[in-house]
Amino acid sequence: MIRAPLSTTSVLDETAEVVSRAAAPWAAVVAATSLPYRFMQIIFIERVSELGSAATHYGRALGTIANLTILAFIFSRWGRVVFARACRLAEASDATPGREAWGVPLVALVSYLFVSSIAEIVYYASVLTIVGPVLAAMLAGLAIGTAELNTRPGIMAPWRHIARHSKTSKQLMSFVFIFFVGVIVAFINLAATFAAGAWLAHAFAGVSLARWDVLLSIRNKHYIFLLLAGAIAIVEPFWIAAHVVLVRRAGVAETGEDLRIWFRELQSRWAE
């Protein structure tokens, strides 16, 4: 029996093709919905760091910011599901998906919100450990990959899909590492782009950059956080697409669809 291997590199190869088809305009939906959440997270982190050890006395103020952050979180998850659907349609049709990508089934959206909330809780509760955030990232990846498989409402249904695809844990772990490195690379590139832009404005347009030098300095924590948010927004569409492709390919291998596709490809080659 011949089966196409479900390797990380083969999934990433296919991911690049899927993103190239779905990115315009659907990656913009992810960025537009994700950035408000990242900005709210930055505000929350900055307030907490300003308060320091006195933060425990400002629970109500921090709770208000956290509530607004969670509203932005819901909006960002909707954007993710729309892009995941666009990726699935792009993969299935080999073309840029149209308006049908907006039509995310409500049950898929709410089920995804349910699982991604748990992933978020795991992440925040274990943010000081190394294992916790990695597990949360793996769960969040599986959640977005299996989001559209949820056709019946219920709190157990999403877990059945996740359990069925958890055998791809090796690839999921690889994705965590690869996309972590991807965020670092995007961060450096963004910082370099802003630095180059500032230098060009100073050198050729004669713009006074005394104020901008302070704002775009690596000593400015706010700038570093914004760069990080930008880097995550750049990598996020690839991360979503990789998990959609992984889940789709794992499902295809499970049902034998891969063999049918392979057989059809062979038949078409012979026909030529």
């Binding site: 929350f44 982190i45 907490v48 760091s49 308060l51 320091g52 050890s53 933060a55 425990t56 629970g59 921090l62 709770g63 956290a66 509530n67 952050t69 969670i70 979180f73 819901i74 049950v107 709410v110 089920s111 919100l113 349910f114 909330s117 748990i118 978020e120 809780i121 925040y124 509760a125 943010v127 000081l128 019946r152 409402p153 219920g154 709190i155 249904a157």
Partner: protein, 70 residues
């Protein structure tokens, strides 16, 4: 038979020891699916609301904890 119509043995299906016609079986199936669907929706929406609330608490707790450490 729930509908009390007479059908032949070949057209009737036994379920829980009682014979039903196809129309009655379809009605029972739909009713069961609707009950399951409503219960599923209620559980899912309640779960999401609870988890979102819990997320805000965990976020504030983790933030205060980390701020206290550094």
């Amino acid at each position: 038979m729930t509908c009390r119509n007479a059908v032949c043995q070949a057209c009737a299906t036994q379920w829980d020891g009682i014979y039903h016609c196809t129309t009655c079986l379809a009605a029972r199936r739909t009713a069961s699916r609707e009950r399951g669907s409503v219960a599923g929706w209620l559980a899912l929406v309640a779960g999401v609301l609870l988890l979102l609330r819990l997320t805000t608490y965990v976020m504030v707790w983790a933030g205060a904890l980390i701020a206290g450490l550094f």
